[in-house]
């Protein structure tokens, strides 16, 4: 009754939640055997920077626009094309609307 069935597969969230809950209890208990202490406020809690000096917080924080830099650079040709498409000009918005209308008109109306 609580299984979501798609005809090709199934998914029962409740069983999964129970499993997760029990496993969580188990491993939380196991984790409790570990040592929880550390020396607060000492050199220990500084970020590891291979011995370099720590920068100011603003510089330590990687900015959002730099985050998937590698991905955006490797797809830069696609992005330049998409940027060109999103002109921000309201006339172009209308133009796209008319283009889609025309294509559909050709596909359904004429053919």
């Amino acid at each position: 009754m609580f299984t979501l069935e798609s005809g090709s597969g199934f998914w029962n969230p409740l069983i999964w939640i129970l499993i997760i809950f029990i496993a969580f209890l188990l491993f939380y208990g196991i984790r409790g055997f570990g040592k929880s202490l550390y020396k607060k406020g000492t050199e220990q809690t500084k970020a590891f920077l291979s011995g370099n000096k720590e920068a100011a917080p603003e510089e330590m924080h990687v900015k959002a626009s730099n985050l998937y830099w590698g991905f955006t650079v490797s797809m830069s040709s696609l992005y330049s094309r998409l940027r060109k498409m999103h002109t921000g000009n309201v006339s172009d918005y209308l133009l796209w609307f008319i283009i889609v209308l025309a294509i559909l008109f050709l596909v359904i109306g004429v053919i």
């Binding site: 199934f10 999964w16 499993i19 984790r31 570990g34 550390y38």
Partner: protein, 339 residues
């Protein structure tokens, strides 16, 4: 009925967790020993991973200044728990899955994301520049290998669907109808062979092993994601790594080699059980040997853009070719039979 189900869930979870952790660490030991021998070293004893975990539990559990403590502590547990939960849906040791109607291939594909996601969030929450670089790379790797993996999973299900199976994504269906028995001609066979190779190459990235371990590259970003983790939190990630190895190997075995020896040999109940479990462990060992140990000994680490390229261009193309071959499989045979 309900209490029976709950009992089944509790016992199943506990036993599968024990199984996953034990064999995960054991195979890790075997893997380390073997790769050491391949490199001409003696290597650590096989029980070394168990000692590592025990030792990590005795170490200080440092929470760095820039970390968000509650996320930092919580996320390794979530990752481990989610990884364990996958094992309950897989056919282990030749037995049908414990909760065969609980989750299917698509769900498991998503559940497999959670450990990697835990690594990413843990890395991001630790506030170290190295960890952030590592987390970005892990995310990029994840996007990269999901593409061929998705193609592969959909292909297997689609092929079963063409055979008139209703639950094409169910693990028990897939295990009872091995893909090799479903092909009608050489094209399908070649297609599935390509897909098997793809899956074997996705496995090391899923487990972030060399050559796809740039998220944790010790030599350049000092352990990446895990650089700030220590003590019991690191032990949790260590366990995730071990359990995930078993999970991935079990998925490979279920998708491509779900055969059992007992039916073949015609054995009785107890012998059958034992021989199936042994055979299953052996199959897992083979998968780990080929897709983890051999690859990581033979190849050097790839850069992150090379990883993305490898998965998005050659492997995606290969799996698409596999998909097309599988789709053509029956069609070509029909053409021949018509003429």
């Amino acid at each position: 009925m309900l209490s029976e189900l709950i009992l089944r869930i509790i016992l199943g979870t506990l036993s599968v967790a024990a199984f996953g952790v034990f064999f995960g660490l054991l195979y890790k030991g075997i893997d380390r020993k073997l790769s050491a021998h391949m490199q001409g070293r003696i290597g650590p004893p096989i029980r070394q991973p168990f000692r590592d975990v025990a030792k990590l539990f005795e170490k200080e559990n440092i929470i760095p200044d820039h970390a968000i403590p509650w996320v930092f502590n919580f996320i390794p547990l979530v990752g481990l728990v989610a990884t364990i939960s996958i094992l309950l849906y897989l056919p282990l040791g030749g037995f049908p899955p414990l909760f065969s109607s609980g989750a299917d291939l698509i769900v498991v594909l998503y559940l497999l994301i959670i450990p990697s996601l835990a690594l990413v969030i843990g890395g991001f929450s630790s506030g170290s520049p190295y960890a952030i670089v590592g987390a970005q790379r892990e995310m990029a790797t994840m996007i990269a290998y999901e593409f061929p993996l998705a193609i592969l999973i959909i292909t297997i299900a689609w092929n079963l669907l063409q055979k008139g199976v209703t639950s094409a994504f169910s693990f028990s269906t897939i295990a009872s109808m091995p893909v090799w028995n479903q092909v009608t001609g050489p094209l399908g066979f070649i297609g599935f062979a390509i897909l098997l190779v793809v899956l074997m190459l996705v496995t090391p990235a899923e487990l972030s092993k060399i050559p796809f371990d740039s998220p944790e590259a010790e030599t350049e970003i000092a352990g990446g994601l895990l650089v700030e983790y220590s003590g019991r939190n690191l032990a949790m990630f260590y366990l995730i790594d071990g359990v995930k190895t078993v999970v991935m190997a079990s998925i490979v075995v279920t998708l491509f080699f779900p055969y059992n020896l007992s039916a073949f040999l015609g054995l009785g109940s107890y012998e059958a059980m034992i021989i199936d479990i042994v055979f299953y462990l052996f199959k897992i060992f083979l998968v780990i040997l080929f897709s983890v140990t051999l690859i990581r000994v033979a190849i050097a680490r790839l850069k992150i853009d090379q990883i993305v390229y490898t998965y998005w261009i050659p492997l995606t193309l290969a799996s698409l070719i596999g998909l097309i071959l599988v789709m053509w499989d029956g069609v070509i045979m029909n053409i021949f039979s018509f003429t």
